[in-house]
């Protein structure tokens, strides 16, 4: 006979393992989210440097060369020893390449007024990282800022001429080689186009085939084949759908590479089985007595399906669809296959124009050797996660709202 106390020991141990497993699983999630949020939050701010301008209203703004004028104004702010070529280069590199476009815009907006006093311009990524504390001062240098640059950074800081402002570029720009000017607008729009197309294609096909399989198909070898086929399709690795898209849409139909249209079509094929499976479950749960009543009154099968079955199953169908769409939004691998991985600096104007997508943008930035992209990658992930949370909340809301009692 086994010793009772050792049995109880083993009972405790077993339960302890279970608790450890649950705790581990949850803490992985917490660590992951914490990491993303703690690195990403700083990307919503951006370092700006104040440059003293002195342009009277009378000056013709068009005659000003923004680049050289801005550089000159910036250099003039410092003690007269900024003379050597190297030092000038060091100072000027504290400003972003984008600063001259900001200045140009400023000039255009103030054609007939004066520009006098301090104006804020975008700082370079290296300075930005130092100000945010991403890179720390080590001796006389900080990250890629050398001794010379650091001297001037100290001067700017002592005069309060650097500050963090909200990041305008993140949500208004597309990708850029300069981290401080890079944004996710292009990627978001690309993703939205692709998802819209994926939805428009997969939803009707999936719902119709679900209804057909549940309500019209006679149970035979063929309907079994379709059923097994759909179940297996749901488990095909997503990258295989990418290859399918590459072979069919790009090579066979000659659709343009990198276009959200192709991305959307590929994602549609991928989400199709998910929606079919969810829709079938929802359709199955519609009480048959209601359908019988409609048929008993002389409604045809098709009328019953569109009048009762589908409306009653809709909450379930929509929930399944949203889950499928949420999967598709985060999907990266198939998009790499159809070339949505290109470096695109323009915001796409339509579904046929080259574009990237939000998860692909994350991949590209995560892959970039520039350290300044790290925080932006996390920020992009935060935006992606917010989208997913919103979608899931919508699913819950729809479920609550459309659910009728019978």
């Amino acid at each position: 006979m086994n010793n009772i106390s050792s049995r109880n020991q083993s009972e405790k141990r077993f339960q302890f393992y279970g608790k450890v497993a649950v705790t581990l699983a949850i803490s992985f999630l917490v660590i992951l989210l914490y990491n993303i949020f703690s690195t990403g939050i700083s990307a919503f701010q951006q370092t700006y440097v104040a440059v003293k301008l002195d342009i009277p209203a009378s000056v013709d703004k068009k005659s000003i060369n923004p680049r050289s004028y801005l550089n000159k104004s910036f250099l003039e702010m410092f003690p007269p020893e900024v003379k050597s070529r190297n030092e000038r280069k060091a100072v000027l590199s504290l400003l972003s390449k984008g600063a001259k476009y900001e200045f140009q815009e400023l000039l255009e907006d103030n054609e007939s007024s004066s520009l006098q006093g301090y104006f804020w311009f975008l700082a370079s990524a290296d300075l930005d990282m130092y100000i945010k504390g991403t890179v720390k001062r080590q001796g006389d240098t900080a990250g890629r800022l050398d001794e010379v640059q650091m001297q001037y950074v100290d001067i700017l800081e002592s005069k309060n001429l650097v500050e963090l402002q909200s990041n305008k570029y993140l949500f208004s720009a597309a990708d850029s080689r300069e981290p401080e000017m890079a944004g996710i607008r292009g990627a978001i729009i690309g993703s939205l186009y692709a998802i819209l197309i994926a939805f428009l294609v997969s939803f009707p096909i999936a719902v119709l085939s679900a209804v057909y399989l549940e309500k019209l198909a006679s149970k035979n070898k063929f309907s079994d084949l379709i059923e097994t086929n759909i179940n297996n399709l749901a488990a095909v690795p997503s990258i295989v759908f990418g290859l399918l898209g590459l072979a069919i849409f790009l090579n066979f139909f000659n659709l343009p590479r990198s276009a959200p249209l192709v991305g959307g079509l590929t994602l549609a094929l991928m989400t199709l089985p998910t929606i079919v499976i969810a829709s079938r479950a929802a359709i199955k749960s519609v009480p048959p007595s209601i359908e019988e009543a409609a048929i008993g009154l002389g409604a045809s099968k098709v009328q019953t399906i569109f009048g009762f079955t589908l409306p009653l199953a809709m909450p379930g169908i929509l929930t399944g669809t949203i889950i499928g769409i949420a999967q598709a939004i985060g999907e990266t691998a198939p998009l790499l296959m159809i070339g949505m991985v290109a470096f695109v600096v323009d915001i796409p104007g339509g579904p046929m124009e080259p574009s990237t997508a939000l998860p692909v943008q994350i991949f590209l930035w995560a892959d970039s050797p520039e350290r300044a992209f790290t925080e932006r990658t996390s920020a992009a992930i935060m935006v992606l996660l917010v989208f997913l949370v919103l979608l899931n909340l919508t699913a819950i809301y729809l479920r609550k709202k459309l659910e009728k009692k019978w």
């Binding site: 699983a25 999936a206 057909y212 019209l216 690795p237 343009p256 199709l272 985060g330 990266t332």
Partner: protein
């Protein structure tokens, strides 16, 4: 042109709808119609639109083939078929306006002119023929507004056909996958021996630019890629298996309803996070962590792309798959079994180990297989966290590569389409598809058989 045509047909259909509906409505005031007025309207609309659209699509399709074939004649002096194709595509792209690159060849300008004129004739003819068809059918459908006419039955037949087509579509997707992978794979095997691919021990698909370079042929022995995939997937299962299974056991047997109702959805969030996020997490958090750990334990030979990093992050990702499928299996075991065992004085852990797990063993095996197939097919985590160099090793601290990493590496960036290098990606994908398919079929049938056992 095509827009005008579409709008015309659409308006005709709308008009027909309104007209027939009205006619039927008048009839319905004194009779009971077989089909309600709007079905009569829809009937006309369908008859006007559907055949016309089918004609339109097939027309464009056939015309493209004919025009493409005739274009080749302009480049008959060129022997290389690939180049001819490139030139004809150049002509088409130029006319369509996707490019304004003019190809330097005597045939180019005449070919462009020919293509333009042909396109014009074709679209005029298309316009006339399609519109005529739509008009005839429109007119024809007018005759049918009668009390006994079964407009609804006709329309429903079309609707059912559309539904059936939707259901069959899934089969075409599968066929598309199989055929496109198979086709390219067979082309790959034209230049590389099947056995060299499946059993070769050296994988370096890089083809040399110049013929005299070293290693110019590239070598396509995929065994290191397969072992790398297996190594990473096994590491992932070593992480996800115990954690997922113990979580499921704890949540289904021990936890209070309250804890379960919070913990289960939280764990499931892990499955909803896009895999590219895990890849990033692996690079910025897990890799440095392992590096520091390695340094602390004075392992010096740990690669920053080691299989351990990719495998453990992949494992975190598949925890919820194991957990929720195992949970399903455990909760499907009839309560009476559990109660019977407890009533004999067994502790809950003994009941779980000796009664519940054996009773749900099939389901658990099925869930592990499904999770394993997920791990094999996962792409982004390994692309970001594992290496591209395929080393034949089982050391988890070394860098290895996987099937999906190779596919991505071979098919992104610059690629010549017909080289064995790009085609090898399809061969790898075919193997991947095949293996995951088998795993799924097995696990689905195990789970199904097991479910029937308790029904």
């Amino acid at each position: 042109m095509i827009e005008i045509l579409l709008i015309t047909i659409l308006s005709l259909a709308l008009y027909g709808f309104a007209l027939n509906k009205k006619k039927a409505k008048v009839l319905s005031e004194i009779n009971i119609l077989h089909s309600q007025p709007h079905y009569h309207g829809l009937y006309t609309a369908f008859l006007t639109i559907v055949p016309a659209i089918i004609l339109l699509i097939s027309w464009s399709f056939i015309m493209n083939i004919i025009m493409g074939a005739n274009l080749k004649d302009y480049f008959s002096d060129i022997t290389d078929a690939g180049l001819v194709e490139f030139y004809t595509n150049g002509v088409i792209d130029y006319v369509e306006g996707t490019t304004d690159a003019i190809i330097d060849h005597v045939g180019f300008i005449p070919a462009v002119e020919y293509y333009q004129s042909l396109q014009k004739t074709s679209s005029i003819l298309q316009f006339i023929v399609t519109l005529t068809l739509a008009l005839i059918l429109f007119r024809y459908s007018m005759r049918f507004v009668e009390v006994q006419f079964k407009a609804r039955d006709h329309i429903e037949r079309v609707v059912v056909i559309i539904m059936r087509a939707s259901a069959v579509f899934a089969i075409f997707v599968t066929l598309g996958i199989v055929l496109s992978l198979l086709f390219e794979t067979l082309r790959f095997f034209d230049s590389v021996n099947v056995f060299d691919f499946l059993f070769g021990l050296h994988w370096s698909p890089q083809m040399a630019i110049r013929a005299d370079q070293v290693g110019s042929s590239g070598s396509f022995g995929a065994v290191p890629v397969f072992t790398g995939t297996l190594l990473i997937s096994f590491i992932a299962m070593a992480v996800a298996g115990p954690i997922g299974m113990y979580s499921a056991i704890y949540l289904s047997q021990y936890a209070s309803d309250r804890v379960r109702s919070y913990a289960k959805p939280i764990i499931e969030i892990l499955a909803g996070i896009p895999t590219v996020v895990y890849g990033f997490f692996a690079v910025i958090t897990v890799a440095p962590f392992f590096r520091d750990l390695g340094a602390f334990l004075t392992f010096t030979n740990m690669s920053s792309e080691s299989a351990l990093i990719a495998g453990s992050v992949l494992g975190i990702m598949i925890i919820p798959f194991v957990a929720s499928l195992t949970d399903d299996a455990l909760t499907a075991v009839p309560k009476s079994l559990k109660e019977g065992s407890l009533a004999m004085g067994a502790t809950l852990s003994e009941t779980t180990k000796k009664v519940i797990i054996p009773a749900s063993f099939h389901g658990i095996v099925g869930s592990f297989l499904l999770a394993f197939s997920r791990a094999i097919g996962e792409t982004m985590i390994v692309v970001m966290a594992a290496g591209f160099a395929a080393n034949l090793t089982f050391n988890p601290f070394d860098s290895v590569s996987t099937v999906t990493v190779q596919i991505v590496g071979l098919l992104t960036g610059d690629q010549e389409f017909d080289s064995p290098k790009t085609l090898s990606a399809f061969a790898l994908a075919f193997v991947l598809f095949f293996i995951t398919l088998i795993l799924n079929v097995i696990s689905l049938s195990i789970v199904k058989r097991y479910r029937e056992q308790y029904e």
